[in-house]
């Protein structure tokens, strides 16, 4: 009896040490994923809702505005708080960040704040209202105060609302942004439309290639495979600029079409949507071919032969026997291409027109050009959520367990 207990204990101990060793082996990967994946995404989601600059620069104003209903101009005490905050913020160097944040919400806020901070503000709080209105009549606009109130933090819906073309007014109601500035819903729609079309084009073009690669004997298949892989290994920028050379007005494609007498004048094939479709399909094609190929290699030709020998015509044999077995590869390829296409930036920027930019273009624009990281994060967050919803739908319809990510 004691012997078996001791054995059990020893067994358990050995088991545990093995588990610990396994955990230790996995640990570096877990840490790596946390640092490079979970943390940046968390940071991005946080930036999309964080709002600290104004509360730091104008603490008294933000406190005084709490509870203001946004219907009429705030009371004189609020003006006095702002008159006290402005010079202090200017000296502390916190004013520029606050001015930038408020300017996102309402154009002209930068000038207004700097001008007011430089202006002659009375020490006597009673005269603050007149003094501020004398410096700039804009302080008589309820929406200006509403913008300060909304930016009081610590959390804000401003960036996320902007990312879906909505705007909150001083009295708290949510409206559409002015028609000429509401673009993001359109751009998200455009992003998904381009991605879906590119995925379909990749599937139509990639399927026969993968099939050919899978059925050819190795001697012929390998050189063909290299033709697929070579562009795959070439830099994205090189392939994109190569398309510029091919598709331009005096490029090979247009010149050949004219020489063949198919057209008299060159067709515009680049700097528009056609260029985006062509270049993106080409760049993403290997991501469709490779998963398809790996699945097709595993399908025994005897199934098709069996179907044929049982009297199925070629089309029926293909549709009812071959195609269902390819589904995991089709699923994997489509998912890969679609998700990669969603984030495309440089290809549409170089071969597309101004009306063909995808959402990544705007994320890059706000990240690097205007340093509006809040809006960049909000756009990223909306894209992430939309993609997750789409993937969940896909899972419901097709199922990830049927996907072969080999």
């Amino acid at each position: 009896m004691t012997d078996t207990t001791a054995l059990k204990v020893r067994l358990r101990r050995a088991e545990r040490s093995r588990q610990l060793a396994a955990a230790g082996l996995v640990l570096p990967l877990v840490i790596f994923l946390l640092l490079t994946f979970a943390l940046p995404i968390g940071g991005m989601l946080w930036r999309a809702v964080a709002d600290e600059e104004v509360a730091v620069a104008l603490p008294r104003t933000v406190a005084a505005l709490r509870g203001w209903d946004g219907r009429a101009l705030p009371e004189a005490t609020v003006f006095a708080a702002l008159a006290a905050d402005l010079p202090q913020a200017k000296d502390d160097g916190t004013l520029p960040a606050a001015a930038r944040r408020l300017n996102y919400d309402m154009t002209g806020f930068r000038t207004l704040l700097f001008k007011s901070a430089r202006g002659a503000l009375p020490l006597d709080p009673a005269g603050a209202r007149e003094a501020l209105l004398a410096i700039d009549p804009d302080w008589g606009d309820v929406e200006r105060w509403g913008a300060i109130q909304r930016a009081g933090g610590p959390l804000t819906a401003f960036y996320l609302l902007t990312a879906v073309d909505l705007h909150q007014t001083a009295d708290g109601s949510i409206t559409h942004r002015p028609a000429q500035e509401s673009i993001y819903v359109d751009v998200f729609g455009r992003t998904f439309q381009i991605s879906i079309l590119v995925t379909v084009a990749c599937l139509l073009l990639g399927f026969p290639v993968a099939y050919l690669l899978a059925v050819l004997p190795q001697r012929l298949g390998n050189p063909l495979m290299i033709l697929v892989l070579l562009p795959f290994w070439t830099s994205l920028l090189v392939r994109t600029t190569a398309w510029v050379v091919l598709l331009q007005n005096k490029g090979i494609v247009n010149d050949s079409l004219i020489a063949l007498g198919i057209q008299q004048e060159p067709t515009q094939l680049i700097y528009n949507r056609i260029g985006v479709y062509v270049a993106m399909t080409h760049v993403l094609l290997p991501f469709m071919i490779l998963p398809l190929y790996s699945v097709m290699r595993g399908i025994s030709p005897s199934y098709l032969r069996a179907a044929r020998s049982l009297g199925a015509p070629p089309t029926t044999a293909f549709v009812r026997v071959y195609l269902p077995q390819c589904l995991p590869g089709i699923g994997a390829g489509c998912l890969l291409v679609f998700v990669l296409a969603l984030g495309y930036y440089i290809t549409p920027a170089l071969v597309g027109g101004a009306g063909d930019q995808m959402i990544a273009y705007f994320i890059a624009f706000y990240t690097t050009s205007t340093i509006n990281w809040g809006l960049a994060s909000a756009l990223g967050a909306v894209l992430l959520v939309a993609t997750l919803v789409l993937c969940a739908t896909y899972n419901k319809l097709v199922g990830f367990d049927r996907v072969a990510l080999r």
Partner: protein, 352 residues
Amino acid sequence: MKKLVTKRSLLLAAVTLAGGLAMAGVATARDLTVVSWGGAYQDAQKAAYFTPFVEQTKIPMHDESWDGGIGVLRAKVQGGAANWDVVQVESDELQLGCEEGLYEKIDWTKVGGKDAYLPAAVSDCGVGAILYNFILAYDGDKLKKGPASWADFFDLKTFPGKRALRKGPKTNLEIALLADGVPLKDVYSVLKTDAGVDRAFAKLDAIKSEMIWWEAGAQPPQLLASGEVAMTSAYNGRISAANKKDAKNFKIVWNESLYTLDSWVILKGTENLDQAYTFLNFVGEAKNQKVLPEYISYGVTSKAASGEIKAELLPDLPTNPKNLENATQIDTVFWLENLDRLTERFNKWAAK
């Protein structure tokens, strides 16, 4: 076994500590570090400025390059580990960083006085380094009688063919207003009104069907060379370089061009303040500035230098008084305030 580990870790800690102290010792004697934009431009600066500076002043310095971004400077100055002293920045970084207190206020008596420089090169926090223009360019071999103004750029009847402008609203709205007859000096006061913005977009509508939008500075010369467009907006340096390197006959229309400046700034709290001023004074002197255009087609900012530059270089230079005659500076503050809003509007307009 355990003891050994402890001993070893103790030893390690001691070595690290000593190393850290030694590093700190080195850091107090850090050389003057100058940061610029890299590439062909920094090579030109090396030849014209950096090497002669070290030879003549015996001040040890080394140069690094960066790709811009106010965030980098913010991190350097506010993070308290600034290892850069003098940085060349673009106009919006100059404005933002000056407001945020990232730069030393320039003591102009130490760099030759404000009067020695072009008025546009003088600001609170920066000394202008180079001037470059946003110009109208066309291929002289294909258009014998070329355009002379932005109004001609919008004239599709006299000059048929496609047009290219930079993607986005910046510079294009100015160009549209100029083409619509707004005088150069009034462009930004008109653009500050909603009616002015509407007017600019309405003017752009007229050539929208013939437009190609470029993204990178290397694209305009390529678009001209391939015959894709008849005219384009471009940076003057790219066009001159294409003429020189690829033996092209591209023409530059300096009339109604828009210019902007890059400036030298001194990062706040630098330990090499005196050396930094010596450096800025050196690169501000006419006798040194006149060398730079021999290496690259940018305008320099010293008033006296313009007169000393070799005559054959002058036609290509933004600071040639003839080229500067009817040009205006891009309004940094206007674009800092309006770029987000107008970019959204531009994209809405472009997708229509």
